[in-house]
């Protein structure tokens, strides 16, 4: 009799226990499960959106690429591994070896094979992802030369074919980019908008840029490591032709036109080109809204009065002097205590109008104010540099001895180191834009580059007349003298490219593909001391070394190192020469 409750208890104990096991079968409530992703057009499109959000734009890379070139220096002496020449196999700068991103693209193609979404959507998205994958490989070839060519989804748990771990030749990667962009262009729509989405024009523009790269490597580089870096010289002409043809197809598509809304003010027209959103010249861009997605160009680069920090990339004197004069000549202004000018731009008044849209000078009016980059006040009757007052806390006869945007303001974190600030892409709304909240769009491809590419490719092919016509497109818009087949030189082609594309992250790569970095960069870059002479109310200028050392660019640095870390991880990789 007494055992009954005991047995009952045991039975109930077991029943209750068994009914509780469902606690283990939980489902994630905060993620999306794989099985619904690939047949839903909106989720597939979302997957591609994610690829765009991780796209290697390298937009507004202040403090980096510009300062590695002759374009600019920075407030803290431009001390970095690249300018010091200390990049080595254990220390890389500016890496991009992103096979995670490549895998994401490959997964997309693999899933599309069985996806049930409609063909036209599939074609459009596949075209975009081919463009994306090509761009990603282009970022790698620029740095490393040949890299492993992975165009399929590799199984991390299986054995991996050695062909996916060994570096392909630089030429093979160039050809892959050629094929990818051609395929992308065939799948993509003509319609150029919205410009944050890859279009046929964007694919062809990438092709033009990549083919020009390959051609230059073939012509100016040398084949090493059995072709892992370098392209045989005899291939150069073929790539130049492809570059020119691709550029031509964009030019002739009728979808784009050079920005020319202010034809009477060449300088202002050029400045607005970078601020008027979605203008006719833009082929592909990264868009910013300044709240959800923003950048730091304004907060880092504007004159101190309008920026949070300022002076992160300061145009060098060499860069400014590198502009042609309007008449095509290259004679330079004179500086010294006996040369008094009424403002900072005056010495350069003969220069290319684009210069004044690219660089801030002392006395430039800007957003209800005036740029004040003078670094000292000379109170002596006759300019005497040893008498100059340079104290930010001092005024002389109610005139501050140091301008509000001056390099003498070093007690604040950042000021210009050269006496100049970048003007290109700087927001002209006049407010101090907080860090990371700039909203100007970054132009990846614009039509002007296509003309320049065509001009360079045709010039290298010996077609000087075609080259001159293409080059004159940007020259005439800029308001400088035109060239013809007799006056065009390689120097002019390259100078025009430098002037037109300044601070657009092209120069670093141009110096590398032309193999002229050693001669251009191994130098101590200069700025101008801008001194206000109180008695005359004018300024005088003294060039000075803006950097504390001469930069070092070694022959090895035409390629990035593969690095020991990557080779340790994947012993099939071979280190680049001279590292």
């Amino acid at each position: 009799m007494k055992r009954i409750p005991f047995i009952k208890a045991i039975i109930l104990f077991v029943i209750v226990s068994q009914s509780c096991t469902k606690v283990l079968d939980r489902k994630p409530l905060d993620t999306i499960s794989e099985d619904i992703v690939w047949d839903d057009p909106s989720l597939v499109a979302g997957y591609v959106t994610d690829l765009y959000s991780k796209f290697p734009f390298f937009a507004f890379e202040f403090d980096n690429w510009d300062n590695w070139t002759d374009e600019s220096s920075d407030a803290i002496g431009n001390n970095n591994d690249v300018t010091h020449g200390t990049v080595s196999k254990t220390l890389e700068s500016n890496p991009y070896f992103d096979y995670t991103y490549i895998r994401s693209c490959n997964v997309f193609f693999q899933r599309m094979e069985t996806s049930l979404i409609d063909e036209s959507t599939k074609n459009q998205l596949e075209g975009e992802v081919h463009f994306i994958r090509a761009f990603s490989y282009f970022e790698m070839i620029k740095r490393y030369g040949g890299v492993p060519l992975v165009d399929t989804v590799l199984d991390p748990y299986g054995t991996i074919d050695v062909k996916y771990t060994k570096r392909a030749s630089e030429e093979a990667i160039a050809d892959f980019i050629d094929a990818e962009t051609t395929l992308a262009a065939s799948l993509l729509s003509q319609t150029p908008t919205p410009k944050g989405r890859a279009s046929k024009g964007a694919a062809m523009a990438l092709k033009a840029r990549a083919m020009l790269w390959a051609a230059s490597i073939a012509k100016y580089g040398s084949v090493q490591l059995s072709g892992l870096v370098g392209i045989p010289e005899e291939k150069a002409a073929g790539y130049y032709a492809k570059a020119s043809a691709a550029a031509d197809s964009v030019i002739n598509s009728g979808n784009y036109a050079l920005f020319n809304e202010l034809p009477d003010n060449k300088s202002e027209n050029y400045r607005k080109l970078f601020l008027v959103e979605e203008n006719s010249e833009v082929i592909f861009e990264k868009a910013y809204d300044g709240t959800n997605i923003g950048h730091r160009w304004d907060s880092e680069n504007g004159p101190n009065q309008w920026s949070i920090r300022g002076g992160t990339s300061d145009p060098t004197l060499e860069f400014i002097l590198g502009y042609e004069n309007i008449d095509g000549s290259t004679d330079q202004p004179e500086f010294g205590t006996d040369k008094l000018y009424s403002n900072g731009a005056e010495p350069f008044v003969k220069k290319d109008p684009r210069l004044f849209a690219t660089v801030f000078f002392q006395g430039d009016p800007w957003a209800n104010g005036t740029v004040q980059t003078y670094e000292g006040l000379d109170p002596s009757p006759i300019p005497t540099p040893s008498e100059v007052l340079r104290n930010p806390n001092l005024s002389y006869m109610n005139v501050p001895t140091v301008g509000a945007d001056s390099r003498s303001l070093t007690k604040d974190d950042f000021s210009t180191s050269t006496g100049f600030h970048i003007k290109k892409y700087i927001d002209d709304s006049g407010v101090k834009i907080p860090e990371g909240l700039s909203k100007t769009n970054w132009i990846v491809f614009r039509l002007a580059e296509m003309y320049l590419t065509k001009a360079e490719a045709e010039f290298e092919l010996g077609n000087k007349s075609t080259a001159a016509d293409a080059l004159n497109m940007t020259r005439s818009r800029a308001g400088i003298s035109l060239v013809d087949e007799t006056s065009i030189t390689l120097e002019k082609v390259r100078t025009e490219r430098r002037s037109e594309l300044a601070f657009e992250e092209q120069r670093w790569w141009d110096l590398r593909r032309w193999h002229i970095a050693e001669s251009v960069l191994n130098h101590r870059f200069q700025g101008l001391q801008i001194i206000f002479h109180y008695d005359s109310g004018k300024f005088y200028f003294i060039p000075f070394d803006a950097e504390s050392f001469s930069r070092v660019f070694r022959p090895a640095h035409y390629y990035n190192p593969i690095t020991t870390a990557r080779i340790d991880n994947n012993p099939q990789l071979v280190e680049n020469p001279l590292y």
Binding site: L29, D30, E34, V150, E278, D289, N292, D568, N569
Partner: protein, 1129 residues
Amino acid sequence: MRTKIYLMALLLSLSCFEISMAAYSQRVTFQKKNASLEEVFSEIQRQTGLSFLYTQEMLKGTKLVNVNYRNTPVVKALDDCMAGQSLSYVIDKTTIVIRRVSFVQSPRVVTPPVRIIGKVTDSTGQSMHGVSVTIKGTNTGVTTDENGAFSIEVKDKNDILVFSYVGFTTLEVPLNGRSSISVSLSEKPSSLNETVVIGYGAKRRANLTGSVSTIDAKVLSAPSTPSIGQAMMGRASGIFVKNVNGQPGENKVSYNIRGFGTPLLIIDGLPAATNDFNQLDPNDIESFSILKDAAASAVYGAVAGNGVILVTTKRGSSGQARISYSGNYGLQYFAVLPGFVSSEQYARMENLARFNEGLDPIWTDEQLQKFKDGSDPLRYPNTNWLDVTLRKYAPQMQHNISIQGGSEKVKYFVSGGYFLQEGLERNSETKSRRYNLRSNIDIKATQRLNIGINLSLLAQDYFGSAVQLERTSSDFGIMGSIYRARPYFLETYPDPTKTPSSANSPNILSQTSIVGYKRKDQVTGDVKLNFSYDLPFGIQAKANYHLYRTYGQYKEKREKTPTYDYDANTDQYTLHNYTKDPNSLRQRDWVGNNFDQQYFLTWKKTFNNHTINALTVYEVLSYDSNYVEASRIRYNYDIDYLFAGPNLDKDNNGSAYQGGREGWITRLDYDYNGKYLVEFNSRLDASPKFPSNTRWGFFPSLSVAWNITKEGFMEKLLPTLNNLKLRASVGKLGYDNVGNFQYLQTYSIQSPYIYDGGTNVIERGIQANALANPTITWEKMTTSNIGVDFSLWGNLLEGSIDYFYRRRSDVLGTRIVSLPNTVGANLPSVNYAKYDNRGLELSLNHNNKIGNVYYSFGGNISWNREKSLLVDQTLFSNEEAARTGNRIGQWTDLAWGKKTAGLFTSKEEIENWADQDGRNNATILPGDLKFVDYNGDGRITAEDNVIIGRGTFPKLTYGINLTVAWKGFNFAMLWQGAGMYDVFLLNSPDVTLPFYAGNTPITSMLTESYIPDNPWLPSNTGANAKRPLFRTDNYNREHPSFGWDYSDFWLISGAYVRLKQMELGYTLPQKLTRKVGIDRLKIYVAGFNLLTFSAVDYMDPEVDTNPALDFGLYYPPVGTYNAGIQLQF
């Protein structure tokens, strides 16, 4: 008549229990004066039908009684009428058998009883109320009265009296013919009899076989600390508790058992969230156990790998209601803060920094003079931002009142607590409040059924400025702003309503007051219901149910605030910008639920000298939570609700989570006469974090112990040894600390992108989370432990020593490195790595009483260290890569960097040294660091990295405590220390690099740096230069080779020792307090974090070393001074 009662235990679901309760539930009503027992018995018989069995002989000489029964239980009626009658009774089903007491207990000799009187006091001479006094070998006993007095009748003047009281040593006193004795009980000189709470049960310490540390709960509630975590510091071996943050409402502490990581926290038998654990009222805690080895924690299975901390809350005990009150008031202060240089020193240092770089001075002599003499405070101020922003002391207050008592049937403990802590920001109203209510009730429902009801309610409120002292994801934080504020910035402008701009001061004052607020409220209700039922054969069934719900709300208002620039020359203000623009209101609400069930069966059997205990438990835990948050911006109206904001740019989000756990626990425990002890524990555990085929795991453990002193030979061999026990254990544990659902491929929404730069419409993409790992399972750990517990010289010295070895395998981590990078997969965690860890723990305690002085002195010390046996690493392509990259077979706490050989002092030395800057040292100056060229290649590169020190987690931790009591006074002191680890100062550049990111240098940068000949500061080129030459910030940060590189120069020992707690108390004589009806009244003063000894005087040694939170960017730990009172009625 036979009565059957069916008890429906509704929640128990265990069906009905048929119980024969007959006599116990019957009641009688009967009044009569001078009634004979016979009359009483027959009346009871008439009313209840119970029959009486007695002889007339038995009733001879019994006294007449006055009875007044009104619906009185039979048992109570019988007790009353037979009180003092030398009769007893036994109930046998429906018959009440009356017996003569003397006949039963002493049938042969009838001696007249002797009355013994006496008094019981504690070690301080206070009389003790409620001490149980029993005659050894009988059930006869009394308790002492309010004056500690007792009176008891014994049969034999040579009987032995046993005095016992909770928390005190039980004392046996032979009467030896005395008829009056006075006895003094001492507080727990031996812990052997202490009951230790272990996983799913409790045991006497003497019978423990696993490694368990305990903390006496009484010490926790004495000096007031904001949380129990802070009170636990230094109290027990094998656990290291660090106070990493003093933010009111958080008081973040990190718990670490044996260097393993965050342990499992258990309150009253069920897992608790860290917040609930930290917010427990210390006054509510009864006991505290730390389960360290596998034997002790294996019953917690897959979550117990890092050890377990168990707390139980207080419960009622039978007896008169005892009301206790404790309250204290304290002042908090920052235990360690740096000092900053003055305006003049700042300017001189800045000139010098520029001088060192070959630049012109920026401050003129005239300006330096003005800073020095303070003659122009508007233009040349000298502001101490620490004083301006922070107050010296912030109040803290704690009250707790509890009532405890009960009868045999119902026992209760009810407690209410209030805790207030204010912040140290001067202008803010930062305030954290906590309200605790706890009600623990035990009901003996029937002879066999016990019900326990634990209710706990916790409410927390926090209010503070929108910008906290600590750095957050959205704000730099006030503490960091203090570093950024320069002494020559104005504290306020002449017009105090104009908030200074960040260019002139970092807005500190506005951030502490007017930029908005944060408010957090959280309410947690927690119900635990326990049912236990005694089944036949010594079996007990138990069911526990736990319902938990927490609801919280967070609200953050950010006020758009104008800031101004001020020109002292013209006395003009110009609008600089708006901070916290646009204004915004964000609100987040969350709910968490738990429902847990546990079903126990326990069995205990004793025969001869063998005792067997068996336990099996089935447990199901289930929890879910969700949150919703919303915000609006650009408010036009000052109304702090969401509805009042504009519709544009409103934002919201929400998500949910659910989880659970299931386990079968068994324990078998064998004890031979307390001499040989064997315990087997196991758990079959399932975690839903893993797929169904790898979900279940079996975690067994075995432990044995041998009480050597119970062997007959020991007493002769070593008579001074009171106790010696050897313990050994081995067991397997799991650890499932990994994200959920890693066995499924999932995608999450993230990554905004704009396709159309004209319209700026944001689209969000979906990204694949890490690849699925379909075979993922938990980490396994095998821990062996051997230990010795001993006590010597009549328990004067007690201690224990433990050694453990733990091997972890299948440790989860991503195998990024060894998979070729071109695969590009975002890899899931896999069970791969292996580590082992070993450690030694020692604790010693000495208690004694000399005259009126009782004292206790003790300490604990722990050491442990871990080695990597297998980790994810590459096949190194060369020897050098292997030298610096290999981690297999190495200690895990090694720091790598360059060795230094002091500072350069001359140009020649620099020229002859290895190339440090890649330019043959052309840029190196005297006062720069001298790096050692390890590989001798003449250049300083990454290949010169060597092991330069230890990791940042202490390998050695210790605590020392001293307690002295004399008469009513008591004094206690607790020190905590840690050692054998390093702090890497460069992780906190604010205290290493002068002018770092525009910071104001701390004073030691002025006094300790290498200073060459210059016009501004006295030279310091000698041996006392502990810091290198400084330059401007820009230069410093970009020149790693000048000294700001990972080197042993910046690696300093993290060792510290700290006076954690000190208390001086006085308990007033009872003679005085009784007059106002107070049983016990104690007043005390106490302090927390009172003294600190460490290698640096500007950095709290306990702060979080997480590099993401540099020193200076959070709320430093606080110290407190308290005064308090404890009352008992």
